[in-house]
């Protein structure tokens, strides 16, 4: 074998002289020969790291050597995959890498170890030889082979999103109402710490459990920093986290933000602050007045405080032949604190009504008269000033007697789904 090199020979005029000489082993490496290997672990995007090994051979004989490496990547100290490759070309730079997906492996330390060398099919008399073996056999290398390099990167999962500071920190489903005093179906979310993920804004991912789990919400946008959020249904039960919100950084999901969506749920009988009974009946004009007292609770049986209420009546049925009583007019009201009452009453100028109402003894309930006059279905709604809108928390029979009023056949909670 011989190696031919074309060199310029300059005398008087350019003359190219082709010089041929036998290959010597020392001609595969000389003082100009360099061998470098760089291993890096970098975050390519929110959901991927690149574990990269790059080898470069320089100097006069670089074209004799094909870089070769053996790389292994590990997650949390456990080897996940390895690769041994030979660059089909000589000199380099030549790279070899792994790019694991973070969502597949999770947070932790991603590392790469590399053993670097080079192969020459022509050196050492054409038998082929590793550069490390060549150096050991003939010396003259200014580097030590095989060259071991490594790198690692520790990835933390993005922290969970949260309620935006200053925004409502707790969601109520209010039957289509946005907010009522301190109770709100709306809020704003904010992402947690990205922990190195470059995407900004992240995208928002909401997941639900299968029915009968029921909580749900809507976001004003899914690829934004601060989506506005509206609760669209209540959770299955108190402190049931059937809505999970995460931010996604190119597919790498944040820690979960577990959400429970509460709702006004039921009424509870309360004692009249004056009369001391649930139904406090007194004389009113030539008729009667009955105050029926309640508080309203949420799904967690916690008493709500400060809210609007309204009511609605169904068809009025007569219980007294020929009754001429004017049905009551429904209206809204505010409960500044916890307790409210339904005012039932009736009075009529003498001789103008059939039947004429009767004055009851003060505090007659539950032993008032038994003559029924008329009744209707009555609904009570939480959270709205508009009749028949809001969260239905009680349904009953609004029963008017000759001398008092009652709420009978009470159903509470009533499913607030409209």
């Amino acid at each position: 074998m011989e190696v031919c090199v074309t060199k310029p020979l300059v005398i008087v005029f350019p003359l190219f002289l082709r010089v041929c000489s036998p290959v010597l082993h020392s001609q595969c490496v000389d003082w100009t020969t360099t061998f470098t290997s760089v291993t890096t672990a970098t975050r390519v995007n929110g959901n991927q790291v690149q574990l990269l090994n790059t080898t470069t051979i320089g100097g006069d004989y670089a074209n004799r050597w094909q870089p070769e490496d053996s790389i292994t990547w590990s997650f949390g100290g456990t080897a996940e995959a390895n690769s041994q490759k030979l660059d089909p070309t000589t000199g380099g730079p030549w790279s070899d890498s792994f790019s694991p997906t973070l969502q597949s492996y999770g947070p932790g330390t991603y590392s790469i170890t590399a053993q670097n060398d080079a192969w020459s099919p022509t050196c050492d008399g054409g038998k082929g030889i590793l550069l490390s073996a060549f150096c050991a056999k003939y010396g003259g290398c200014t580097f030590k082979l095989p060259m071991n390099t490594n790198a690692s990167i520790t990835v933390q999962r993005p922290t969970r999103p949260d309620y935006y500071p200053g925004a409502n920190h707790y969601l109520y489903f209010l039957g289509g109402v946005a907010a009522d005093y301190g109770y709100s179906a709306q809020t704003t979310f904010t992402p947690g710490q990205a922990n190195g993920a470059p995407e900004n804004p992240p995208s928002w991912v909401v997941s639900y459990q299968e029915p009968p789990f029921s909580g749900s919400l809507s976001l004003s946008c899914t690829n934004c920093v601060n989506p506005n959020v509206t609760a669209t249904n209540y959770s299955l039960g108190c402190n049931v986290y059937d809505v999970v919100v995460k931010t996604s950084y190119n597919g790498f999901l944040s820690d979960p933000f577990w959400i429970f969506i509460n709702s006004p749920w039921n009424t509870v009988e309360a004692n009249d602050p004056v009369g001391g009974t649930w139904n406090y009946t007194t004389a009113w004009g030539n008729g009667w007045q009955s105050l029926i007292n309640y508080t309203t609770q949420d799904m967690c049986a916690l008493t709500l405080s400060g809210y609007d209420m309204n009511e609605w009546f169904g068809y009025w049925n007569s219980d007294f032949p020929g009754t001429s009583w004017t049905p009551p007019t429904p209206g809204p009201w505010v409960a500044p604190f916890t307790q409210w009452h339904d005012t039932m009453n009736f009075q009529c100028p003498a001789g103008n009504c059939n039947p004429m109402p009767v004055n009851p003894p003060a505090g007659c309930w539950p032993a008032c008269g038994t003559t029924k006059v008329q009744h209707a279905v009555q609904n009570f709604y939480f959270g709205n000033w508009v009749m028949g809108e809001g969260v239905l928390v009680q349904q009953d029979t609004h029963q008017r007697y000759l001398d008092h009023g009652e709420h009978d056949s009470i159903v509470t909670p009533v499913s607030p789904v409209n």
Binding site: R160, Y170, G192, G237, C238, N239, V240, Y241, W258, F260, N271, P273, V274, G275, G276, T282, W284, G285, G287, Q289, C300, A301, S305, M309, E311, W312, F313, G314, Y315, W316, S324, W325, T326, P327, P328, T329, G331, P332, W333, V334, A335, P336, F337, T338, Q339, W340, H341, D342, T343, M344, N345, F346, Q347, C348, P349, N352, C353, A362, Q378, H398
Partner: protein
């Protein structure tokens, strides 16, 4: 469709002059009443009438709490009610009147929201005057003390507008009001004791809780359920309070309502100290106590801050996907899936009790 039928029914019935109303209502807040009033007086309706929706009355002033009016004077005022009334004389009632406008054209600021009849346009007081109160604290506090004094008088309380005493106190407690409640707790009528316990328990008063725990006669109080409801509101993480609640909850000889109330409070508090009491309740036959146990253990395991509903951000040693999946605070849920919830938390307790130091 139903609303349409209702409308027809209303037309059909509107044939006689009668007064009927069914709208709800509630006491107005004192803050709102005070803000909307130029004058506040204690007095008696010296005369007046209702005609249509308009009230015209004269008030004999007994004491002035706000504004430049004179005790002993009689001032006129007008007010509006919800439904038209036949013309009639007003009852000579005593109360606290909230007035706005200029003298000579004073308007009654209603003491209630929602439906208003002539008894809702002022705060009714017993007809026997209580001893004059020296001006103390804020205007709101003076009104509250006037009402508390009337309550303590034991005189019959007439129908009419009222102040939500407990709501006002919980929203804005003062030392002088607390002192009144503490006196009532020591030696008031059963009704005053009930009111005082409800007020003091809601702010975590340990003495009130001790009284409830040790005074078995309270359990026979007709208003015991309202006292127990107040126990449920306790959120103090004080070690003594938690221990007392725990003992109340697990004591099988206590009234069921009291045990349920203590267990409920303990569940919402769910400190590490509360955990063994809650774990013990998992085996109680009462589904109410079981629900409290599950709710409280889930609250602890998932690191739900006291008074909140959702897990706190950040790592927590006891929180897992399973503890999240088994979180619930509901009797209905426990009844529907007893094994799913109770067995899980029983195993959880056995797995973690040593780490928790029990």
């Amino acid at each position: 469709m139903i609303k349409g039928r209702h409308a027809l029914a209303v037309l059909g019935y509107m044939t006689v002059v009668a007064v009927a109303q069914a709208s709800g209502g509630a006491p107005a807040s004192l803050d709102q009443l005070i803000a909307n009033s130029d004058y506040i007086v204690v007095g008696t309706i010296a005369g007046g009438s209702a005609s249509g929706v308009t009230l015209n009355l004269s008030i004999a002033i007994e004491a002035v709490l706000k504004g430049q009016l004179t005790a002993g004077a009689i001032v006129g005022a007008t007010g509006t009610i919800t439904e038209p009334a036949q013309t009639h004389a007003l009852a000579l009632s005593r109360g606290i009147f909230f007035l706005s406008g200029a003298q000579g054209a004073l308007l009654l600021v209603p003491a209630a929201s929602g439906y208003l009849d002539e008894r809702d346009i002022f705060v009714a007081l017993p007809n026997v005057a209580s001893p004059p109160q020296p001006p103390t604290g804020t205007l709101k506090e003076q009104v509250m003390l006037e009402v508390l004094g009337a309550m303590a008088s034991g005189e019959p309380w007439p129908p009419g507008g009222r102040i939500d005493v407990l709501g006002e106190y919980q929203a804005d407690p003062t030392a002088s009001e607390r002192s009144v409640f503490q006196q009532w707790m020591q030696g008031g009528s059963p009704q005053l004791i009930t009111t005082s316990l409800r007020a003091l328990l809601a702010e975590g008063n340990a003495a009130a809780l001790t009284r409830v725990a040790t005074d078995t006669s309270l359990q026979g109080n007709p208003a015991a359920s309202s006292i127990f409801d107040a126990v449920k509101l306790l959120r103090s993480t004080d070690a003594g309070t938690v221990a007392l609640l725990g003992q109340m909850a697990v004591n099988g000889s206590s009234a069921a309502g009291l045990r349920a109330a203590a267990a409920t409070a303990l569940a919402w508090i769910h400190t590490q100290q509360a955990v063994p009491y809650l774990a013990q309740l998992l085996n109680d036959p009462s589904v109410t106590l079981q629900a409290a146990a599950v709710g409280g253990l889930a609250g602890f395991a998932n690191n739900v801050p006291v008074g909140a509903h959702e897990p706190a951000a950040g790592a927590w040693a006891y929180r897992t996907d399973d503890t999240i999946a088994h979180s619930v605070f509901s009797e209905a849920a426990i009844t529907a899936r007893p094994t799913y919830y109770l067995s899980f938390w029983q195993v959880w307790w056995q797995t973690n009790r040593a780490a928790l130091g029990y």
